[in-house]
Every structure is written in C-alpha cells, then in structure tokens.
Amino acid sequence: MLGALLAGLTVSSAPVSAREAVTIRFHYSHFEPSVVTVPAGVQVTVTLRNDDPIDHEWIVGPPAVHEVHRHGTEAVHAGRATEVTVPALSTRTTTITFDDPGEYAYICHLPGHEEYGMKGIMVAR
C-alpha cells in the first residue's frame, strides 16, 4: 500500500551518490527550513538534525502517505528512506529521488507535533 502511495518517489538508503544535499534542522518542534526546493529525478541526500531534547520523525510524501500516518503506523521508523525517526539530539541521513516534479509535504507525525506546526514542504522541480 505504501508503495502505491509513494508513486513518484524513489527511495534509497544506498551510500550517497547524490548530486544534491540538503540539511533540515529540527528546532523547538519545527523544521528549519520549512520549504526546501530540490531537482526532480536526482538523488537528494537529506540530513536531518534534531537539536531538540525530544524525539521527532520526518515523513515525506504525498497527502495519502500522511493520512496513513495520522492514524498511526509503527512507533519507530526504519528501513524506509522517506520515513525516518530521529531521536533526541541526533542526526540521521537519508537519500531520496523525486521522479516526478511536485510538492511533497514533510511532517512529524508524533502526537501533537503536526498540530504544533512541525511540517514543511519539499518542492521537486
């Protein structure tokens, strides 16, 4: 099901051969920056730096993906490049390719975090 939901996204955990790299900081339960523009069709290495003393997660994808996560999935995300758990005061790196141009929201779906404003948009052009 998630495979279908992720149409347009190719994910990879392979070593970085990306031509693009972005860093997203987690600070006071917000993403910085909240808007990131990347090229479509190119591997993008995303460094996720959690400066908060609490756990967060970074889920990116089309609306259907987020709808699934709003109703609960696994407590800890691992093995899927578009779904990353970032423990308190730690950094994780993931590599993603956006095959299709478009806007893909990234959200922390831990309880109350999205409502608090922990969301952003990745624009693939």
Binding site: Y28, S29, D52, P53, D55, A88, L89, C108, G112, Y116
Partner: protein
C-alpha cells in the same frame, strides 16, 4: 539566581509575597509529561506562593482525576527547595474564597524526571504523588523524563529552554493513578503540597501554564499575590492579564491561613492582589515578576521580557514561578467547587 546578599536585603524588608494560582475554567488537558499510555488527563491547579523572611512558601494541590498509569508535569523552580511536604488542608480554598464567590479549586499532579547530567536534589512522595527536584538544563531534564518512560509535549523544548536560561531547577511531579486507586482516592480528591524555597524576590511562572497545549488553546488562571505592601509587577496589565483585586488582606483571611498546617509563618498584615490570566497560549510568553523590596523595580528578565542569565533572575521571582507553574502543568480538567 542565588544571591544571598541580595536575598538578605530583601529579607530585611520583611516582605511577604503570596501567589495563588487557581482556575475557574473547565477541565483543560495539559501535561508536560505524557505517560506511555498517552494519558494527559491532568487538571489545572491552584497555588499559593507566599514570601516572608526570605523564604518562599509554595502550596498547591494535585487532584486525582481517575485512570491508571503515571502522568505528570515539569515545573521550573527558582532555586533549590529546602522541603517538599504535605500542604495544609484549606489554604488554597480559603484564598480563592477571599476574592471570589465559592467555586471550584484545582490541584495538580506532578511527575518526576532525570537522566544523565541531571542531579536529583530531593525526592519525596505525598499520597500518590511522586515529587522530584532536579538540577539540570532543559535538555537534561527532558532526557531524564524520557528515561523514566515519559514523552514530552512538542512545546517542551522551547518552554524548558525559556526557564532553564534563568534557573536549572525543575520539579517533576508524577501522579501514580494506580497508587491512587489502591489508596481509595476518589475522583476529585486533591493532594496539597507545600514547597519551601529560600529566594530573594517573588516570581510567578505563567508561561508554564500553557505547557502541553496548542498555541491556539486558552489559558485561564487566577494568580493571587500576598505581599507586605502593594506589589510592583511586570508585565503591566495587558490583553490577557488583568488585575481583579487589590486591597489589604483582611485579618480574618490571614488568621484563617495561619491556622492551617504549616502556615504559621503568615504575617499579621499583608496586601492581597489577584491577577486573572485569560490568554491564548501563543500570547502567553511571559512570567510575572514582582519586586517585593518596595523599590518598585520588578525584573524584566525575571518576567521573561528580556533575555537574561541566571544572575538576572531574582531568587524570589524564580521561586514564585516555580510555585505557580507546577500546579498548572500537573492538573488538567480540575475545577474548584
């Protein structure tokens, strides 16, 4: 934040400052510490913060709202308390009744947290309430909470930093719902707690009242100050903060307070001020600083209006902040009746 010379000066001023935070609002879900079962059913609390002879007396109550498991809150403290013990039976109710028609009182449960980098200064248990005084920064306290099985609300990192910049002392209050049930505590039963903190100037933590809530949520609370003279405060009345009562405390009130357990320190005369908070969480980004010295110079740093290090936060201010904040964090859905 711990300047004994300043404290002595203020003590010599023989200023008494009391703060009572109460709520007339419906139950509000608020908690800084969220249990593994997601429980956040903590009610609002009423608090008395009084200052006399250089010592802050903080009395609050935590109300049992039912349910099992553990839940609680974190409360910033201005300084290290010398004691945490059961509070008097009627002090909080009596203070509220002084300025308002009889209504409901709220008590708050608290939670304990600590981890690497956190020093546990004091631990005690009052009924089903576990109280832990911690020394450490916001991150350290958050880690302690995590290690004790609690999840912090998303606003906690910023709020904890807000307070940790001025004082590294926090009180973790954890309400053990299972223990409450075993003790036969009924829904609505409150547990009064009296915290004694030597400090130099009164300070009431207001921003902490919004912990665990969303920015659009409302904070409704009453803050009672009991001082030797008319207090000087920051911030001044504004949208969301108004003065509801300001008059000399009646002898009858002071006598009643003094008659309660552990309240023999209440002076013979004092000034009673009641402030009402009715603000969105997003707008409530300040604390209440009180100058108890009579010099009319409350600290902007203590009020959180300007950034300041621990040295800029008057001890008493920190103490009061602690007092007020704790109950607010712990209790949700509590009402005074």
């Amino acid at each position: 934040m711990r300047h004994f010379a300043t404290r002595s000066t203020i003590v010599s001023a023989a200023t008494l400052v009391g703060v009572l935070v109460g709520t007339a609002s419906p139950a509000l879900a608020c908690a800084g510490l969220i249990g593994s079962n997601g429980a956040v059913n903590l009610g609002r609390t009423t608090t008395l913060a009084a200052y006399h002879d250089g010592v802050e007396h903080y009395v609050t109550a935590f109300k049992f709202l039912g349910g099992g498991g553990q839940f609680g809150t974190l409360i910033p403290l201005p300084d290290v308390p010398t004691s945490v013990e059961r509070g008097g039976a009627w002090t909080l109710q009596r203070l509220v009744r002084e300025t308002q028609p009889p209504r409901v009182f709220a008590a708050a449960p608290q939670a304990a947290a600590a981890r690497d980098g956190v020093e546990v200064l004091l631990q005690t248990r009052v009924d089903a309430l576990d109280l832990t005084v911690l020394k450490g920064g916001g991150a350290a306290v958050a880690d302690w909470a995590h290690e004790h099985g609690f999840r912090l609300s998303p606003d906690a990192p910023e709020v904890l930093d807000f307070y940790a910049q001025r004082s590294p002392i926090f009180l973790a209050a954890v309400f053990d719902g299972d223990a409450a049930q075993q003790r036969g505590q009924q829904l609505g039963d409150g547990t009064p707690v009296h915290i004694t903190i030597p400090i130099a100037n009164p300070w009431v933590p207001l921003r902490i009242l919004g912990l665990g809530k969303q920015p659009v949520d409302r904070v409704d609370a009453d803050v009672f100050l009991l001082t030797d003279q008319t207090p000087s405060m920051l911030p001044l009345p504004r949208d969301g903060l108004s003065v509801f009562h300001s008059a000399a405390a009646s002898s009858r009130l002071l006598d009643d307070l003094r008659a309660d357990v552990g309240m023999d320190w209440v002076p013979q005369s004092a000034w009673l001020t009641e402030l009402r908070i009715n603000s969105s969480v997003a707008d409530l980004r300040y604390d209440l600083a009180v100058d108890a010295s009579g010099e009319g110079r409350p600290s902007a740093a203590a009020a959180g209006i300007e950034t300041g290090g621990p040295d800029q936060l008057p001890d008493l201010v920190a103490a009061l902040l602690f007092i007020v904040g704790a109950p607010a964090l712990l209790l949700a859905g509590w009402r005074f009746a």
